[in-house]
């Protein structure tokens, strides 16, 4: 187990290193001098130099990379070129919208997919099964931002149950905050729940055809007992993989959905930063999201080893 863990840890560190180099180099090739941009056309040469020094723009490529990574590690993400405030503060505020949104959507997705997948698998070949599969086929094909717009039309504009956009803020209370995240979370969760339902169903069907299920039935367990006691746990492994992958789709998807609902999250921050050519903000947010994706995949790898002892032995 320890060897497996160390191996995973090493690959985690290498991935983070490689990702940071890629992001750094990509944005390094952008032409233009942020200091000149911030100070305008009439800036004096020595003022420009002082600002470059302050922003960490002087020095060799390697020095700049190291100071950027060093900053990331200590929570210093640099200063926004346009807002002149620490990037870490800007990200911190927005994280409290994007992260709850992603978790809300992940929860919804799981809450829908598990029962739906189990239901479809246990009624294999019936109209229930066909119905669930048909709905998931639609859920996978629908663009979630369009679905979001339709929900706004129905539930916000016509029924007036929710507001059409914006974020009430956590200061307005937990439920008020959750309420403004509800439509976005449903929109985000829909395609993921559809995929997860299909994975859950097919994984369960695979497991139900295994020998140990036949044995369980032969010793007198009912179909339902065999399913709940034996099949479900074994069927969870592929479901876990997809769940881990979904987190990255949720984070990325949140970037678009936040724009539908005008939510002040990381996604909107990125787009504002792109249009203002505020590259240090883009750099930091992208790095943060990639960091999150890599960490979640690492956690999923470890979770496997806990769920399935066979994997540990093979990989060790």
């Amino acid at each position: 187990m320890l060897r497996y863990f160390l191996k995973r840890l090493l690959s985690l560190v290498l991935s983070l290193l490689a990702a940071s180099v890629v992001i750094f180099l990509a944005l390094e090739v952008v032409p233009g001098d942020p200091a000149a941009y911030m100070l305008g056309l009439n800036a004096q040469e020595d003022t420009l130099n002082a600002l470059r020094e302050q922003l960490g723009l002087n020095g060799t490529l390697l020095e700049r990379y190291l100071s950027w990574v060093g900053g990331l590690l200590t929570g210093d993400f640099g200063i926004s070129y346009t807002y002149r405030t620490p990037v870490a503060d800007m990200i911190g505020d927005r994280l409290w919208v994007s992260l709850p949104l992603a978790l809300y959507a992940l929860t919804l997705s799981t809450l829908i997919a598990f029962p739906a997948g189990i239901w479809a698998a246990s009624r294999r070949g019936t109209y229930v099964d066909a119905g669930v599969m048909g709905v998931t086929q639609l859920g996978v094909a629908i663009p979630n931002f369009w679905f979001a717009m339709l929900m706004v039309l129905v539930f916000a504009i016509n029924l007036r149950w929710f507001s059409a956009g914006g974020f009430a803020g956590w200061d307005a209370g937990f439920w008020a905050g959750m309420k403004s995240l509800t439509l976005p979370a449903i929109a985000l969760a829909l395609p993921q729940a559809s995929i997860l339902t299909r994975v859950m169903r097919s994984s369960l069907l695979d497991t139900l055809s295994e020998d140990f299920i036949r044995t369980a039935r032969a010793k007198g367990l009912t179909k339902a007992q065999a399913m709940w006691r034996h099949a479900l746990r074994n069927a969870l492994i592929p479901v876990l993989t997809i769940l881990g992958l979904q987190f990255s789709f949720l984070l990325a998807g949140a970037i678009i959905i936040e724009n539908v609902f005008y939510l002040p999250g990381l996604g909107r921050l990125v787009f504002q930063a792109i249009s203002a050519r505020d590259l240090i903000v883009v750099e930091s947010v992208v790095m943060l999201l990639v960091f999150a994706v890599i960490m979640v995949n690492f956690a999923v790898d470890l979770a496997y080893a806990l769920v399935d002892p066979r994997l540990r032995r093979r990989a060790g």
Partner: protein
């Protein structure tokens, strides 16, 4: 012909796919109304006989816009899948031919790295650096497709390398490159076609999303995602502006997914139950 009947999804999938591919092709030579001409007198008209899907805020015919937009979506997704295949398949073949070696390890680690960047984040970075355009959307979606095809090819090729007929080819003195091309590739082609269909539909969704947030095709290029973005502020009084482009995306993606399912049923019976 009977094999077409084995799959319930193939025919509807084909019909939808042909419908939208056809609309895109027809738009090259004919559209009901010119989408570059503004007709302000007829703006935001509900569907009618003259304009079956209505007109937008500039009086442009929405049916024509959707036909031209189909061209953008299909072109972007198709080229992106092409990039993924052209780069990913040789990488996967090479990794499998040198399984367990440094090259294999390197290719798979690079794949993991690309997977850590959701395609939208790649697009965000490319846009930040080079600006937004349909071409950059293609590159972003294409890069994301490379590891998908590399992994699939490697996995399938690995299982083939232990087969007897590959052994026979090796005994006959064929090199790894030749075996990969002559024996492995033809046997993974079916899988690639099925995955290609799925990636194609994902590409259309991705293009729509990128265009919706302004990272994809720029005006005056018509695109379904942009049409939806433009319609958003008018959705309360002109919902048809949002309805038809969204339906176009939904039906195209649905059609491709059904087609992919159907093709898999025909081409690879072993995988029939496994798809999710």
């Amino acid at each position: 012909m009977t094999m077409f009947l084995h799959s319930r999804t193939l025919i509807p999938g084909m019909v939808l796919t042909v419908l939208f591919a056809g609309a895109a092709l027809i738009s090259l030579v004919w559209v009901p109304y010119d989408t570059t001409v503004l007709d302000i007198a007829n703006k935001i008209k509900s569907p009618s006989w003259a304009h079956p899907f209505g007109t937008d805020q500039f009086g442009r015919d929405i049916l024509s816009m959707i036909m031209v937009g189909a061209r953008t979506s299909i072109a972007v997704a198709l080229v992106a899948v092409g990039i993924g295949m052209v780069a990913g398949v040789p990488l996967g073949l090479a990794a499998a031919a040198r399984r367990g070696g440094m090259l294999d390890e390197f290719i798979m680690r690079m794949n993991d790295l690309v997977f850590a960047f959701p395609s939208l984040l790649i697009a965000v970075m490319i846009t930040a650096v080079f600006g937004a355009s349909a071409l950059n959307a293609i590159i972003a979606i294409g890069i994301f497709n490379i590891p998908v095809f590399a992994r699939l090819t490697r996995g399938a090729a690995l299982s083939l390398w232990s087969r007897e007929y590959i052994m026979a080819a090796r005994v006959a003195g064929k090199g790894a490159a030749r075996i990969s091309l002559e024996h492995i590739l033809p046997n993974v082609a079916n899988l690639l076609i099925v995955q290609g269909t799925i990636q194609f539909s994902l590409g259309i969704l991705a293009e729509a999303g990128l265009s919706y947030v302004g990272l994809g095709a720029q005006p005056p290029v018509a695109s379904w995602g942009r049409m939806l973005a433009d319609s958003q502020t008018m959705i309360s009084f002109a919902p048809h502006l949002a309805l038809f482009p969204g339906l176009a995306i939904l039906l195209t993606v649905l059609g491709l997914n059904l087609l992919g399912d159907g093709l898999r049923d025909i081409l690879d019976p072993k995988l029939r139950r496994a798809r999710t």
